[in-house]
Amino acid sequence: MHFANKLVIAMTAAAFAPAAPLAQEAPLKIGVVTFLSGPAASPFGVPARNAAEIMVEMLNGTKVPAPYAARGFGGAALQMQLVDESGPATTQVTEFRNLAQRDNVDMVIGYVSSGNCLAVAPVAEELKKLTVFFDCGTPRIFEEKSYKYVFRTASTATMDSVGAALYVKELKAGKIKSIAGVNQNYAWGQDSWVDFEASMKQLTPGVQVATSQMPKLFAGQYNAEISTVLGAKADVVHSSFWDGDLEAFILQAGPRGLFKRSTVILTTGETAMYKLAEHIPDGVVIGARGPYGPYAPDNELNRWFSKTFADRYGVPPNYAAYQMAQAILGTKAAWEKAQSANGGNRPSTDQVIAAFERLTFESPAGKVEMVIGAGHQAITETAYGVSKLVKGKMTVANVKRYPATMVNPPDGVKAADWIANGFKK
């Protein structure tokens, strides 16, 4: 065939090609922020990064099960730009500005630390950049301010604390005279303890607080705190420790008999339960910050996600990985809803925000409802169980599930007020 003929055929083909798919070809840049170094990298940051890599690759390859089978977001491929979350909040604010203004990402999905979420949210608003928090737990973000550009697709620490209180009340058949806490001294630890203490006082009137310890984040040495809690002889000990602090606490508390003397709740215990299986005795209350990991429902999305993750990385996904997948799928659902409403054309940020508000979407952890925080904050069900070693493998037993509306406050009501008013709807 002559070159001229080839050219005519090519030009004709181009002229008759559908315009819309070509319009969708421009890729979407997503800034993904999570811990890639420091003590939080191993239990949270790296599993979350791995989940993000899998989701981006599989979405671009249209390998994700329904209802997420479409390529990328609405046909547009995804490009991920990773940023390390370690360092002070001021560093994270600078990094966020770099992502938004220098790298011109279309959206940012990230943040494990509650302190970083509190610092970044106002900057996201100032820069008008769609930002989705995937993990951080403090309820203060949408209680203290309202944001247009900020969403959070995981439940807050309130759900973890209320769920833990409901679970131990049932586990101990209401026979709880005193409680104690060992939590990290910053937003996450303080909020977790405040909600747990208030919930316990509502659920078991007359309960006494034996002691509340708030060591510094990443302190590493907890002998004195453990002595204080042991001496307090509390019926229930609550800890929202995470990362290396959680692992050090388990290693130091075990030989000192804390797990035998009191019923210990580890609200993020799922991240350590496999690594430290032989150091966690049976009967420790294990949380996963929602219906993740061992508490995830048996649905097609979960079967696909957990298998894909485990096949590639050799370990099952932990809750940080689930939450990252949930954030990406939630943003995809909002994007495609907005695109559909926009006649199939690429939606504007405002259109995506309108679609995201009060959205209900499916994730590997089941149904996620963006119904509080004026439609910017998710609620999900949660579950708790107790550790049980079966043939050398850590499992959870005596699992109880709590519906989303039972463990999360209604829209427009602060968590503290909701708990203080007896969890009234």
Binding site: S37, S212, Q221, K233, L251, Q252
Partner: protein, 298 residues
């Protein structure tokens, strides 16, 4: 009474850990006048080496009782290899520079070593909990403590006493004391000051690595392990007086006991009290409790 006893025991355990971590820092400053931020890196290297070597040997069937010797050997191995490399390869070219410049150089090395650690060991945690629970526990009234804590106290005493004996009773120690007092006169008298610097930096780094190695069984060995330690170690040696061995011991005991008392009686003040003690000491003794008198140079 029980609580007071708990304050004392917890305070002593914490002081022992602090002293092991901090004493090498004060030794290096005393001899070399370097505020050595890489001290935190050697603490982390000791922990990683101990966790990986001990873990590997235990997996190959080594009797667990030998793990304490392996902890010590791991610290020795990593400090004997890395410390001379840093001292001979980088620091010796910087001694003529201002103390602040050398401080910044050691900070830069600290950051580099953090990344080197991540390159070698990755970001996943390492655990070797066997030595912690191996010896069993003892009860004090109603509280249970693993015997391993007594090993920490023993290591701290051995480090302090060994260092005091070395400085006071050996030829090398006496030469070091001469260098501490006046580097120029020592050099003029024929002391090989460069060699003394090499010994001091290696030995000081070994002490940090021992601190990390013996902490490894009680923690999750993860990146940035040395960050918290370096901050606390500075507080201890500043309270005691930079370069003073008895000062480091007293500083560690003060910080350990005050922190322990705060945790038991006023937990809200835990973070605050360590730096309150430091501020109070510096208000009345700006060069620390055991500041070394320096000859005025004309």
């Amino acid at each position: 009474m029980e609580q007071l006893l708990a304050v004392l025991i917890d305070g002593i355990i914490y002081s022992s850990w602090l002293f092991i971590a901090a004493v090498g820092l004060t030794l290096i400053y005393g001899v070399m006048k370097i505020v050595n931020v890489t001290h935190g890196s050697f603490y982390a290297l000791g922990a990683y080496a101990a966790a990986s070597i001990t873990g590997a040997l235990l997996a190959k069937g080594m009797p667990p009782s030998l793990s304490y010797a392996v902890l010590l050997g791991s610290a020795l191995l990593v400090s004997v290899i890395v410390a001379p490399l840093i001292e001979r390869g980088i620091l010796r070219f910087m001694y003529a520079k201002d103390e602040v410049v050398i401080l910044l150089i050691t900070y830069a090395l600290f950051l580099i070593l953090e990344d080197v650690i991540k390159m070698i060991w990755g970001v996943n945690p390492y655990f070797i909990a066997e030595p912690y629970g191996l010896l069993g526990s003892f009860d004090v009234l109603d509280l249970t403590y693993p015997y391993y804590n007594l090993i920490l106290v023993g290591v701290a005493i051995a480090c302090g006493a060994g260092l005091a004996w070395m400085l006071g009773s050996t030829r090398t120690g006496k030469l070091l004391v001469a260098v501490i007092h006046d580097t120029e006169v020592s050099r003029a008298m024929g002391i090989n000051v460069d060699r003394m610097y090499l010994y001091t930096f290696t030995f000081g780094s070994l002490l940090a690595a021992i601190g990390g190695a013996f902490t490894a069984p009680t923690v999750s060995v993860v990146p940035a392990l040395g960050v918290e330690v370096i901050v606390l170690s500075f507080a201890v040696v500043v309270i005691g007086g930079l370069g003073s061995l008895p000062g480091a011991a007293l500083g560690a005991v003060m910080v350990g006991l005050v922190r322990s008392a705060a945790i038991h009686y006023l937990p809200q003040a835990e973070l605050f009290v360590i730096y309150l003690v430091m501020a109070m000491v510096l208000a009345f003794r700006p060069r620390g409790l055991f500041s070394i008198a320096e000859a005025r140079k004309i």
